[in-house]
């Protein structure tokens, strides 16, 4: 796109700036729309599994429910508790929201259709996702209130624990693909057994795909790992003191994170923008549609789990993270690198 603006007579810097801003808007606005629709989908799926109707009043089939909710919170007053640390209290939801959108910069939607095609893409995602914890921790601390504080401490312990195993899982994928670039990782998933696209069909990486799905749920604090906002213990967790847009920003950021994790699942393990089968006619469907279908599928899995699995106890959560996922993912780093040493990189010397 930079080249296009340069042809219009702009200098390189101006063209670069303009094309980057347009690129950001082209990604951020659809993501926001997707968040609004996916909140609706989440509520519908959840309702269907509980034999309820879900939102069905605003617009046809209740499709405009999220927008009505958005309008409602937009018109409400932002209440800041008098004992709160005002600046941090207001910055925290902004951090959560911004960080949730930042990571989309490196997600490839098609060959070459990516905002920043950097060769440390996966590390960038790790870096950005490690920032996500600050929004929660700061909101808990700045609220100056008991339950948000407990929730913030729980959240930081939980996110750090699961980031460790996510790191090892990502290393397995990186070892297999031989690159940190997400486009290269997607391209490396072509043609398993001649007709399947996706690392998930690789027996060495399939357990990693499952573990990544579960860790992603824990990382985004979705049910069954939503101990940060366990309403029976902590009121509403770190969001307790928030109202109106500040609350909405948390909400949007949370769902944007969930969609991002679904997208990462698709990109890392199930072929991203590639069709599931390596069959020529399927490549005529635009890659972004395949990616979108995969994101929706994983989102359905997320909602399904949320609707059916009871919440974990905190010690069970920690045990799963540190005593099961960490050793298993470490073992698989060993297995994958050993397998690659024996086959791809010419055996023991």
């Amino acid at each position: 796109m930079t080249a296009f603006f340069q042809e219009l007579g702009l200098p390189f810097e101006g063209a670069w700036l303009l094309s980057t801003i347009i690129g950001i808007l082209l990604i951020a606005l659809p993501v926001m729309l997707a968040v609004a629709m996916i909140i609706y989908a989440d509520r519908k799926i959840w309702a269907a599994m509980a034999l309820r109707r879900g939102p069905n009043v605003v617009g046809p089939f209740g499709l405009l429910q999220s927008f009505a909710d958005g309008l409602k919170v937009f018109l409400q007053e932002t209440i800041v508790p008098s004992a709160a640390n005002k600046t941090l209290f207001l910055i925290a939801p902004i951090i959560t929201f911004t960080v949730a959108l930042m990571a989309w910069a490196v997600v490839p939607f098609q060959v070459g259709v990516v905002l920043a095609d950097i060769n440390v893409g996966l590390l960038y995602i790790l870096a950005i996702s490690s920032l996500g914890v600050y929004g929660v921790v700061l909101s808990g601390w700045a609220s100056n209130s008991k339950y948000p504080f407990y929730s913030a401490i729980r959240a930081s312990a939980q996110m750090i624990s699961y980031e460790v195993s996510i790191g090892f899982i990502l290393i397995c994928v990186v070892l297999w693909a031989g690159s940190f670039n997400l486009t290269a990782i997607v391209e490396s998933q072509k043609g398993y057994y001649g007709f399947l696209n996706g690392n998930g069909f690789n027996p060495l990486l399939f357990p990693m795909a499952i573990m990544f799905l579960i860790s992603a749920m824990a990382e985004t604090a979705r049910a069954p790992f939503d101990l940060t906002e366990a309403e029976s213990e902590l009121v509403a967790g770190y969001q307790t003191e928030y109202s109106s847009m500040a609350f909405a920003l948390f909400w949007l950021g949370e769902y944007a994170n969930v969609i991002l994790m679904c997208a990462l699942n698709a990109v890392l393990f199930w072929g991203g923008y590639l069709p599931p089968f390596d069959w020529a006619p399927l490549y005529y469907v635009p890659g972004i549609l395949w990616l979108f279908a995969k994101i929706l599928f994983f989102f359905f899995v997320f909602s399904w789990v949320k609707a059916t699995v009871p919440r974990y106890r905190y010690d069970q959560l920690m045990r799963l993270g540190w005593k099961i996922f960490l050793p298993t993912s470490l073992l698989f780093v060993f297995l994958v690198s050993g397998f690659l040493m024996l086959t791809r990189y010419g055996g023991a010397q």
């Binding site: 810097e13 670069w16 700036l17 941090l88 950097i118 060769n119 440390v120 590390l123 960038y124 790790l126 870096a127 490690s130 920032l131 914890v133 600050y134 921790v137 700061l138 601390w141 504080f149 913030a152 401490i153 930081s156 750090i160 980031e163 940190f180 010690d315 069970q316 045990r319």
Partner: protein, 203 residues
């Protein structure tokens, strides 16, 4: 042009947030300024073309170290008056350390530009076509493999030491037995009875 703007933006922010780290009165604010400083330092690294180091800086320092700082500082019950009391008595010592650091920086840069030690060239030429990660990995896992593993062992020893020092067997705790919990079935804990009307339940 954009590089210059970005450099001055990042550099100014690093210096300012570094200063605010030690100037701000609330320790939590200090940690947050420190995080901003790390972040902008990562931006400077990217401008240098060291994108791998930049990402590691954010992942390790911002993602892990600073979170632990924040964690600890948040939970401390801090007496601000007591914190500021020692300022004057520590001032000469602090100034001394600052002076030593300044001298080291001047010496380091001076010797580097003077040239005979060739600080930057000891690792041998790196193929410019390799990406950062490959170049660092190639050096770290071949030439410096023993140093690298020694560093790992030092960390392991430190970790084991910390656990040994702080671990104590406490009486009166009832740890969860996960295997037993998983084996438990509904029939072990509940029973269905057909209770006649007007009679109590036999427990």
């Amino acid at each position: 042009m954009i590089h210059v703007i970005a450099f001055y933006l990042f550099a100014t922010l690093v210096v300012c947030s570094g200063a605010l780290t030690i100037l701000s009165r609330n320790p939590v604010h200090s940690v947050l300024w420190l995080i901003l400083a790390f972040f902008n330092a990562a931006g400077l690294m990217i401008l240098l073309g060291a994108e791998f180091i930049a990402m590691l800086l954010v992942i390790v320092y911002v993602g892990a170290v600073a979170v632990l700082f924040l964690f600890v500082v948040m939970m401390l019950d801090i007496d601000f008056a007591e914190l500021r009391a020692g300022f004057v008595s520590y001032l000469p010592f602090g100034l001394l350390i600052a002076l030593v650091l300044l001298a080291e920086i001047v010496l380091g840069i001076g010797l580097w530009s003077a040239g005979p030690i060739e600080l930057a060239q000891r690792a041998g030429p790196v193929n410019p076509e390799l990406s950062n990660i490959q170049a660092i990995g190639g050096l770290l896992y071949t030439r410096y493999i023993f140093l690298f593993e020694a560093a790992g062992i030092v960390l392991l020893v430190a970790m084991i030491g910390a656990i040994v020092l702080t671990h104590r067997a406490r009486g009166g705790v009832r740890p969860q037995n996960i295997a037993r919990q998983n084996q438990r079935r509904p029939q072990d804990a509940t029973r269905n009875i057909n209770q006649p009307v007007g009679q109590g339940v036999e427990l």
